[in-house]
Symmetry: C2
Subunit: 271 residues, 2 copies
């Protein structure tokens, strides 16, 4: 028996507004949703919160906060301000967590260790606000191919080390696409335990033709999703599995209802 | 003061034959060379060995053995046969190591752990031949974005765990492109010590437009190469730094002498 399904708005981002995603989830019997902030802004946070409540959807996460490193102090302060707004939005829509894509190396720098320090400082600065708003922060380790420009937290172990140092109110988002290759994965998922705040799925295609926008539908790639799900369940995770597929040349070009039906069918059969 | 320079034939693979690379290295004062086996086969192993000796070049590695996992026993046996031929070739040209790109997940499989077991079994089977031929094997951990289709050994730590289990006659090739992102890198390079058999350099471009053929010239990306070199030197490495750049749309389209001059200049200034 699979975990319940949540639809990340990125999966149908080319086709549907947030309002359409909410109605689409309700229509297809999907019980969870995870909006990106651009879609949330288009809809309006208050209106989105009402629609989500009306349809009884769980909000499995808000995507995304983070992007802490910057070339100067003003840039870092702007990032913190934006993260505090993200906390407010997450609270208003009742999100189970605010997902953090922590950011990469600032332009002009080659100092990945420095960027990592900026990430830790940034999270540390926003964490009291997140705790006060009762919005758990979920660090999402991103695949190492994004280390330079999107996230310099690149393994689950590294994310958990951060959590260990930061204390209460913070955990991780485990995304199959980002972590499936990690030789230390089983051990780190067990270590994560109840700190797994979200579980994202899609698949790694062979070949992968684009670093960002060529993720696969579950079952079309090489990730052993049932094994990964069993690991997160064994660690104590009881939440939704959230489908997040960036696919410029395939799934974003299809009819959104077909995409959603395929997600549901694949979740039943190969996840 | 930088480590001496070696030219991997891949860096000018679109422009030069092995014979031209050998003569080019001699002409430009480069003291090391690392051929790929396709170029070696074109030239003929014996003739290549003579030319390399004549010009007094160090052979910093032969690229490449590996590719162990296969869907069936016949495939695995064929891989072993090919690896034994690679050992003979490496011995004949006096290569300091045979670089192993270990292979990914066999077609139709989603079992990365199984592929990793096949890799260990394969290396274990060829290692006695390598020892007998006095050809050190260098496991090259590849960037995790190649885990599915090229190499399921994806971190230096994982490669060293393999070395620990396999015993004498085996070490690692540290390639900046594959390992620069690793949060555990400094510790693992120190752990590697004298088991670092080769050190490869190029750069990670932002953005990177192709998973395979968009590597950058040293200095054009985000890798802190002086810091990485200091780490491998501190670990005891005294060999060449080998330039290996796959660049379909830039460096492979330029005049090879210009490429070589640029490598030399960048090695002086940014490595």
């Amino acid at each position: 028996m699979s975990l319940p399904l949540s639809l990340n708005t990125a999966t149908v981002r080319a086709q549907w507004s947030l309002e359409q995603v909410i109605e689409g989830c309700a229509r297809h019997g999907i019980t969870g949703i995870s909006p990106w902030r651009d879609k949330l802004a288009e809809c309006g946070v208050r209106r989105a919160a009402e629609l989500i409540r009306k349809h009884g959807l769980a909000v499995t996460g808000l995507c995304r906060g983070g992007m802490f490193p910057a070339a100067d102090e003003a840039g870092r302060r702007a990032a913190l301000d934006d993260n505090r707004r993200a906390i407010d939005e997450a609270a208003e829509i009742g999100a189970q967590c605010l997902v953090l894509v922590v950011g990469g190396i600032p332009a002009g720098s080659k100092d990945i260790d420095g960027a990592r320090t900026q990430v830790e400082d940034g999270i540390s600065a926003m964490l009291p606000d997140a705790r006060a708003a009762r919005v758990p922060l979920a660090i999402e380790p991103l695949h190492p191919m994004y280390a330079a420009d999107r996230a310099c937290v690149n393994t689950l172990g590294q994310a958990l080390d951060l959590c260990d140092r930061l204390g209460e109110g913070i955990g991780v988002a485990v995304d199959a696409y980002h972590v499936w290759w990690d030789p230390d994965l089983a051990r780190q998922i067990a270590r994560a335990g109840r700190r797994i705040l979200a579980y994202h799925i899609c698949d790694w295609l062979v070949p992968t033709t684009d670093l960002l926008l060529d993720r696969g539908m579950m079952g079309d790639g090489v990730i052993d999703l049932p094994r990964l799900r069993a690991m997160v369940e064994r660690a104590g995770y009881k939440g939704h599995q959230e489908v997040e597929i960036f696919s410029a040349n395939n799934w974003w070009k299809r009819d959104a209802d077909e995409v959603v039906r395929t997600c549901i069918e694949r979740c039943r059969t190969v996840c």
